[in-house]
Each structure stands twice: as C-alpha cells, then as structure tokens.
C-alpha cells in the first residue's frame, strides 16, 4: 500500500536502505542483539576484534501524513533499533532517514528525577521534550488533569506508587508537540480505569499527530491500532502492507515458532517474503 495514494498524500518519513552493524565483544553476543554488557575491564583491543552483529540489513519504506504504522517482529528483529534511527538518536552504518519534522519517541522517563516533586518533574519532562517554559505553563493543567495525581503532585516522585508514576509519565509524554510519534511497545499505564482514559487520550493525541509508529511484538495491538504494518525479521522487512493481513500472517508464523514447528514457520516466512516481492 502507500504507492496508490502517494500522489495526493504527503510523505512524512522516508527510510532508505538502512543498515546497522554493531561490533560487540565476542563473548557477550546474543542472537540478533547489539547490546554489550559494558562492565569490567573487557578490552576492545586486547581480546580480539569481537563479533559483528547486523541489527538492520537494508530496510526501506515510506510513510505518509496521517498514517499509523505498526512495526512488528520478535525480540531482536531490529524494531527498536529502527525506531531509534527514525528518531535520529543513533546513526545507521549506511542508509538515510528523511522526515518532514523531527520525530520523537513517546516517553519521558529518562529526564525525570525521583527526588523532585511531581510538579517539578512535569516541568523538567516537558522542557526535555523541547517545549518552551511558556508552553509548559499552558499544558500544565492538562497534564495534572490527565494524570489525576491530585495533591500528591507536590510530593517527591519517588514516593509515588508505580501506577501513579506511570500515569504521570504518560501524561507528560503525550504533551509532546512532535508531528511524528514513535511508540515503543505497549505503554504500561497503571490501573484499569486509567487505562481507558489513557487510551482515549492517546487516540486523541495520535489523531493530532501526523504519523505514528508503534513498535510491538504483539500482532493484535497492531491490528487494533494501526492501518499499516511492517513485519521485521532479522533486520529485514518481511512484509509491508495493510495492518490486518500483515499482522495475521505474522501471528500465524509466530504461533508456529512458539510451537516449535520451525519448518512450518520457515515456509510461512518464505511465503510472506515472496508475496511481498510480487
């Protein structure tokens, strides 16, 4: 999909032939992951060259204004790496990302400080997302309302229950102004009543955003929330199409993998790949 309507729709993100290679310490390589432990005195030079892990091998696609795109794939398929590249947080080994505006990861945790009060954290989180102080003042009441923290907003955030903290983080995060939103996995959002409210708020926020990327390994989430899905496997796009069909194929494949029916799974993977190229 995509091409048919391209003439009248504005491209929002263009990803061209992204490759990411990590060099890791040989003994800490895990399948398909580019992380290393980073502790102790393991030497880069003295213990050999380490192993090369390919997190992405040639990913290309174009998304358009108003599109919500699910990126599905198993752990280690390169989803999160792709998301960080689209956000411009990491540099690809080769390839390019173009976008109509600076994409932003939805999430504000890294900027918050547990010692500070909820209110101070709201300010800090918003400033970290690039809002001006005047904008922070404007969105503040809204954030307080969405988070439903009440008087506790004056207490240090470390005193919050995990549900309260999650609510506040979510409320701050959706205040982002970015037109291209990148969401990693389902948002953990406290209790059930809030879940409804947060989903409503998220939907409302997404409708204002130009383009939404949702990364998850759960096919069902993509079916519910996205119009289009991109299935990643081992750093490559297996399938890129309407969310329902793509997610269905992915789920059937993933089910077979989980059941240990690897020959069936491999066949499905090959089938999906060949269907994509025709």
């Amino acid at each position: 999909m995509g091409g048919r309507d391209a003439a009248r729709r504005q491209p929002s993100v263009v990803v061209r032939d992204l490759h990411v290679r990590y060099r890791t310490d040989a003994d800490v390589v895990r399948h398909g992951r580019g992380r290393h432990g980073g502790h102790g005195h393991e030497s880069r030079w003295l213990s050999g060259r380490g192993a090369v892990v390919e997190a992405l091998r040639g990913v290309s696609f174009t998304t358009y204004e108003g599109e919500s795109v699910g990126i599905i794939g198993q752990n280690g398929s390169g989803k999160s790496t792709l998301l960080r590249l689209v956000a411009g947080l990491e540099r690809p080994t080769s390839g390019e990302v173009w976008a109509s505006s600076q994409p932003a990861l939805l999430g504000v945790n890294a900027a918050l400080q547990p010692e500070l009060s909820g209110a101070q954290n709201v300010r800090l989180g918003c400033l970290a997302m690039g809002l001006t102080p005047a904008e922070v003042d404007r969105v503040l009441p809204d954030i307080l309302e969405v988070s439903a923290i009440g008087q506790a907003i004056r207490l240090p955030m470390k005193t919050y229950s995990s549900g309260m903290a999650a609510r506040l983080r979510f409320a701050i995060a959706v205040a982002t102004r970015s037109r291209i939103l990148l969401i990693d996995e389902a948002l953990a959002t406290g209790d059930a009543t809030f879940k409804e409210r947060s989903e409503e708020r998220l939907r409302e926020r997404l409708s204002r955003a130009g383009t939404v990327f949702l990364v998850t390994h759960v096919g069902k989430v993509v079916e519910q929330q996205c119009a289009r899905a991109i299935w990643l496997h081992d750093g490559e796009v297996v399938l890129d199409g309407p969310a329902y069909e793509t997610a269905q194929k992915y789920r059937w494949w993933a089910w077979n993998v989980a059941q240990g029916k690897h020959s069936v799974a491999d066949a499905l993977l090959g089938e999906a790949r060949s269907s994509a190229s025709t």
Binding site: V14, A111, Q120, L124, L127
Partner: protein, 309 residues
C-alpha cells in the same frame, strides 16, 4: 532525481528505494516536488544551526542543573553542606601539608588564603574535567530518548558547577576574610567576576574535550586522573612558581597554563590588591576562547556518534 533542494547525497539512492513498499512509491517520488519538505534525520547540523539548537535547549539545561546540584548530596547526613565542606577540608589539608610540613609558603604573603583560593578554584575546573568525561555515559538514557544537541550534556555539567559555585565562593570569601592576615575588600574585587567568567569559558571548553575523548576512548578516564594531577602541581595551587621553578622552559610552560593565570589573577585581585597586568588578561582571554572554540568544534564533529550503543 531531486530529493530536496539541498540533497547532495549518495548516488546509490535509486537502488536504495527498492523495497516492498518503496518500489511503488518510487515513481511518484521522482515527480513529487512536495518531497522537498523532507529533511535528513540524525545528521549533524551545521555549527550555526547546532548553536541555535543548543540555545533553545537552555531552559532544560538550567532546570536540570538546578535540580541535580540540589539532589547531588541528598541522602547524605550533611546534605548540601558538602558543597562547602568538601573544598573546606581540601583547603585545610593542603594548607597544613604544604604550609607546615613542606614550607612551600616561603616568600608568599598570606599563605593560607593563597592555598584556599588555589584549591577552591582548581576544584571548579577539575570538577568540570571529570564531569565532562562522564557526561556522555551518565547521559546515555537521555541520548537514547530525546533528540537534542549532545553538547547539552557536558554543558549541563558546567552549569551544575556554576549553580553550586554560589555556596562554594561564599565559603572561600568568608575564609580569606576570617583567616589572618585578613584579606582586605578593595575595589579590585570587582575584577574577580571577570576572572571567574573567563575560567568558566575555559571549563566549558575543557569539559567538551574530555566528553568526546572519554566517549571514544573510555581508557581516557584513567589518563584524565593523571592529567588532573599534573595540572594540580603545574598550576601553582600551593606554591609560588617564581620561587620553586627555575628552569626557563618549565617556567614558560607553567605560566602559559591558563589555569595558573586564573589562580594568579584571582590572588592578585583578592589578596594582594594588585590589578593584573593587561598581558595576563589578554593571554587568559585568548586561551579560554581558543580552548572553548576547539572544544566546541571537537565535540560537534562526532555529534552523530554519541548515540552509539
């Protein structure tokens, strides 16, 4: 094909667009002029744009620095008092060791205050060197979550230093006034903020340099400890260079060390009621600006890489 007016990038871009979804949209892209509104993501901006982005980041840097310098000592029994106590203890120890045991005070008037100014101001710089070195590692979560000019990380280390400088300077001033022979407040004290400002520029440049070096070569952190020690002994924190250094080359090296100039000028202004020579002002300004500029460009050069896991 023209991707954007400014697109001068890879010749391989045609091949790059052959993907499951890319293939169909490729043709339309070639003709669609509206693609001109796209810009490259994750690419290092020009120095000018970078500086503007950094300027927009100032609100966050300031808020974050204020919060962190306050919470830095939380959980300790004496809390923020350590902002004052730490340099106080250091000063006392150096005055004791070098004043009484080694007699490096020969020929120095008001030696205790001489050492106090030395240690307090030296620590402001060494903190920035160390803080800059760990800024990329300790900011890894921020780097992986937000797109912002990465120089904001070492800069917020310096800002944090500035924020905690208030109580530190107050202590320093109080000490040199209290300890006999008491320093006299003169109009020349008004020159002290100027010296501090130049030192701040110097600190900023240095922290940008150590930030990139430690990022690229983690081993540098250990070397930095040695460098700081050399700097400590080479800046005349606790002795007078005129008295102890006679080798002309060594003397020249030490006297062109900007940190030595900072200490020297600060003592002139605060203790000895002397206006520092114009040559000192010019030399310090030149060195500080040069190091700041070099540090800034040096750090910016690797901007795209700091997100590397």
């Amino acid at each position: 094909m023209s991707f954007t007016p400014s697109d001068t990038s890879s010749p391989s871009s045609d091949a790059a667009l052959e993907g499951p979804a890319g293939e169909t949209s490729l043709d339309s892209m070639r003709t669609d002029e509206s693609l001109g509104h796209l810009r490259r993501i994750g690419q290092r901006p020009s120095l000018g744009v970078y500086t503007v982005q950094l300027w927009h980041r100032r609100h966050y840097i300031w808020a974050d620095s204020k919060a962190r310098s306050r919470s830095g000592h939380r959980g300790m029994f004496l809390g923020s008092a350590w902002l004052v106590l730490k340099p106080l203890l250091d000063g006392a120890i150096y005055a004791l060791i070098f004043g009484f045991l080694f007699n490096t005070n020969r020929g120095i008037a008001n030696f205790p205050s001489y050492v106090i100014i030395g240690t307090f101001l030296f620590h402001a710089t060494s903190n920035c060197l160390n803080g800059g070195a760990s800024s990329i590692t300790s900011g890894a979560n921020m780097i992986r979550a937000f797109a912002f000019p990465r120089a904001a990380l070492p800069l917020s280390v310096v800002t944090r230093g500035v924020v905690s400088m208030g109580p530190m300077l107050a202590t320093m001033i109080a000490l040199i006034l209290i300890i006999p022979p008491h320093a006299q407040v003169t109009w020349r004290w008004l020159l002290f903020p100027l010296v501090l400002m130049l030192q701040m520029l110097l600190n900023t440049g240095l922290s940008l340099i150590t930030a990139r070096l430690t990022f690229q070569v983690p081993d540098f952190r250990l070397i930095l400890g040695v460098i700081i020690r050399i700097l400590f002994y080479g800046s005349g924190v606790f002795y007078s260079i005129d008295r102890f250094v006679h080798h002309p080359w060594l003397q020249f090296l030490m006297e062109s060390n900007p940190l030595f100039i900072v200490l020297d000028m600060s003592r002139d202004v605060l203790l000895y009621d002397r206006t520092p020579a114009l040559s000192s002002w010019l030399l310090l300004t030149e060195r500080s600006l040069l190091i700041l500029l070099i540090g800034y460009v040096f750090f910016w050069w690797k901007e795209e890489d700091y997100g590397r896991p």
